[in-house]
Subunit: 345 residues, 4 copies
């Protein structure tokens, strides 16, 4: 059994981790922490958990918790996460960080994008970027996983077949859309029902924090740092995320190459599903699941591919991917605890 | 022309007043106040107003504003409203108060229900309860209108035909449902999109503040204070409110009496529409409008009526009713500025 | 292993059965039928199933299917279901019927309520009413389960503690609300997004088909047939159902009796959760789960209880309850396959 | 007074025309037609109209109606519309066609895009493309207006400043999003609440019918036919439409040129509002109104503009634009009847 704790369990990704870990056959969820809800029962906060757990929130006390756990999931805000990571790693606990603190390889870039100095730049080199499908070996052999951002997950999984095979030129236009849980649980006028309902608006136009993360990883795949124009939009749905990517193809690429690239990339992947040419996914179809569904359109002259992908931002875009990484780190089957968690309707 | 100001114009009822007053043919909207948004333009706050007004929010300064206006609409929180009412009334400005401060006739009851002492109990006697359809003479002749609560508006308009004609016994069960704008614009976990969407929950069970207001007014209509059990529920829609009332009928009442009671009560009312026996309204059908739609079911033995009514909580339940009252106070046709504001879809 | 088939698997309850049965550790889902989608893969119809099953829809052929299965779940329209029940039962296959065909004990009442003659009245006597919590022995020992209606499930589970202990008088007012999947998958103007969104409307006022079913079962619990006034409403949410019941208490009942009645009734039930006095459930909190959450309010004088309950209409109100019954029929733990299927958000 | 009829008034654009025309100070709405709802009152179909009109649907009989009206609004499906246009024009009635039948200048292109032969190619030359802001003279002097498609309206109004001043190169990527009323009132699985809610999906990828219309009009503005890649998506909202356009700028263009281009283009337009550089509109902010709001981002090197625009698909994208055109055709102020129809919330 893997003994696990969720550090910062009252937010949306923390709650989603509870949903998954409580029914993971190889996990014992030992502790959940929250500074604001100490002593409260998890099911008071999330009544959906009624009858499923007696856990209570406690303070994050690494000294006390470290001896009891094998892995700590950090569902904390940026900056708080890197402190907690240091605390747990030095006490021999493996760490899966759902924040952005270990995603960017360069401390300079981190400082530029997130506006603060990185306190543990030495750990950046040791950490594995936890986009499982693209990084299995590193994830398996690390003590510190940087769980990817939700937008990068959706984009990278759906563009990897083009970049790995050098089929993609640039500039790449990525028009993305996300439900409101992507903004987290913090109170916000923009995510109040009466403001978000019947609404749609872009944000971070020309400068979203996930853009450098995408470029960093696409460069590893394709051998060059492409120009990426990334525009996210806020949608009136609770969960789910979609990216529509417009990718120029390199000269001479054939339709068959592109289609087969996707087929091969996805065929042995438990959570990636290529729907086919001109069949496109609906964000509904991944609610609650760890799946990423992809469809593509290639224009007549094979000059451009339109790649459309969907994930659940809270599962494959956060907590599900974290558990997928945990499975690898502890030598369990990658799908353990993650297959039966989907919604049909 | 009626010169008007909206005191507290950034909230939802204030915004809705702007929508109506800017296109009211007899109104000049002179000022809008907001302590938190001074100097900001209304259309920055509510971009739907782009191109429609150049008004900017200013501080609430009765000394400065009173000489420029004939009427002040108070869209303020309880307690703040009664202070502002005193300020404007003593400077000769008529007041339409959208808060609860002047709705209850007894200062003792006010203190009990709203938890604070009333600062102007002498004004309670002078104020008119602004449920226009039931109180035209008083509204026409007052300087201070207490605009009714949204739930009481929906309930009283739909039960008045039974009470006025002594057809209703008690206890009366009222199961009501409201969209999230009923909770106002203040940030609130409960009204965050991810919490309200796909949700439905009761609140104030057994003790909602609007219950005593209903009883007070039903007693005036029917000659006795009925037992009223009132349970409101929060719904995932932006606007709109519905009440399903279960009313025991007094002995010997005939179906025809009930149906004709509704027909007669509604037939000359511009904003009340009786759909008929066993035809029921949808809350959609009053969005943006000042209408109240009513349908009824009477059981076979004529022992009980089920009365279902809908209003838009922000219009007939607040700002529209306020303008309807203003029309009467200034001797304009009651419907002026209120007929073309509805949504079909 | 229990070998199962879903007869009529393209509708919403059929789809929900797939979600549950595909991950039930003791079930092999052998066949799914649909006359309109023969040969299509389940995951074409419901892309959420991508990667989870290769099943294809086939025609409902009892002769062919009966030898391969132990149990048939009938997710068919009324009337079609009773024919299929006969077909499978006479071939030795156990039947769990999700339609209304075997819920009413009297063929006369069935004809009156559903407008057609019952073709197998002799089976009515053999069938067990599948409200598991109230009927375990009968369910365990039958070959034919009549799965309860969604509204009766919500109402009966939440009123049983009062009726079993003779604490409830009548008339009982039940104001209920349901999301749109309750209306099934058939195309319908009323359930089109643009008509249902931002809407709320009652239906079946004074004559809904689930009312006689409630009265029949309450009479078994309480020893008398209470007067039940039942008004359902359609809500703009996909899943979920709530009932707010107003129940007169019999003379002399104490608050403690009522509260303890609920505590005792729920304490050993895996899927029933009594939140406590004056703590009320949100319909969100049971999405995807087989739980029923209940909260109550008792008025000061102990004359009336307000009982508020929520279920997911597709799970505890249909497919989840069906699987719970199957577990009993085949001597598996009642919760098998049903605990990890909930949504926190 | 302009005497008007709506031909095909039960659909969503027909209903929206009723909302606007019933309160237009210069219009008498003489007749509404619908083959499926003859003799029914408009307010039975759309209860929001209760108390606002006694009109009943009648058959479309040009012989009978032509003498009574000055203008016919055709809210009919493609192909039916061109027949009706011929019928009314030859009887001396002006026609505003909300279908696609007269939008494309070339009958060959029409046949290719809409799959049928055009029955009145001679009228294509006489018709005016009713994107009012770009075509005032033609609209004023025609008897036949081809009201633009909703997507072309949103895209053309927001790209016109770039094309008119030759600032735009290609290819242009247009990622657009629309609420469900864009799909019309016809029953459709895809627009059922339970399918559209919590969903987002692309459609017409690589081949939507509105793309040739956009290219045709952009060519008139810019002097060349740009490559336009257009991908619309279906969103879970009732009204509203947004386009995010990625436009390469021609070499040497300065940021100031772009910004001033938008300022100048919009400054005297009653319904176009340029929010400014890096201020972006929310689709909520145009609900019910005839406004088009636009915001832009220009990248650091002035190589690309991101142009984001919103309209209400039923108003500026259909019925509002039709009335705006009518105003011009009959020499009324362009804004008549169109300013007070918006929603703030």
């Amino acid at each position: 059994m893997i003994r696990a704790a969720i550090i910062g369990a009252t937010g949306y990704t923390g709650a989603e981790l509870m949903r998954i870990l409580l029914f993971h056959p190889a996990v014992e969820l030992v502790a959940i922490t929250s500074e604001s809800s100490i002593e409260q029962r998890a099911c008071q906060h999330y009544p959906a958990l009624s009858g499923l757990t007696d856990l209570r929130f406690e303070a994050n006390n690494p000294e006390k918790l470290a001896p009891q756990i094998d892995v700590a999931f950090l569902a904390l805000p940026h900056a708080e996460a890197m402190e907690a990571a240091v605390d747990y790693l030095q006490r021999g606990v493996r760490v899966i960080d759902l924040s952005a603190d270990f995603r960017l390889n360069s401390p300079q870039l981190y400082e530029q994008v997130y506006g603060r100095k990185h306190i543990a730049p030495q750990l950046l080199a040791k950490s594995a970027y936890g986009l499982t499908e693209l990084n299995r070996e590193a994830v398996t052999n690390t003590d510190l996983v940087a769980n990817p951002g939700c937008y990068p997950t959706c984009v990278l999984l759906s563009l990897a077949p083009l970049f790995q095979q050098q089929l993609a030129a640039d500039p790449i236009i990525i028009d993305a859309k996300s439900g409101v849980t992507g903004a987290g649980k913090k109170l916000n006028t923009r995510t109040q029902f009466a403001e978000a309902n019947e609404g749609l608006s872009p944000y971070g136009v020309g400068g979203h924090r996930h853009q450098p993360e995408m470029v960093q990883e696409l460069a590893k795949l394709g051998g060059y740092a492409p120009e990426v124009v990334f525009t996210p939009h806020l949608l009136p749905l609770s969960r789910g995320m979609q990216s529509t990517s417009y990718v120029p193809l390199t000269a001479g690429v054939s339709r068959q190459q592109v289609v087969e690239g996707y087929q091969q990339f996805c065929e042995n992947e438990p959570f990636l599903h290529f729907l086919g040419e001109d069949i496109f996914p609906n964000v509904r179809d991944v609610r609650g699941s760890n799946n990423c569904l992809v469809g593509i359109h290639v224009d007549k002259e094979c000059r451009r591919a339109i790649v459309i992908a969907v994930i659940d931002n809270l599962v494959k875009g956060a907590s599900g991917a974290a558990v997928q990484n945990m499975n690898l780190m502890f030598n369990y089957p990658e799908e353990e605890g993650l297959r039966g968690i989907f919604q049909v309707l």
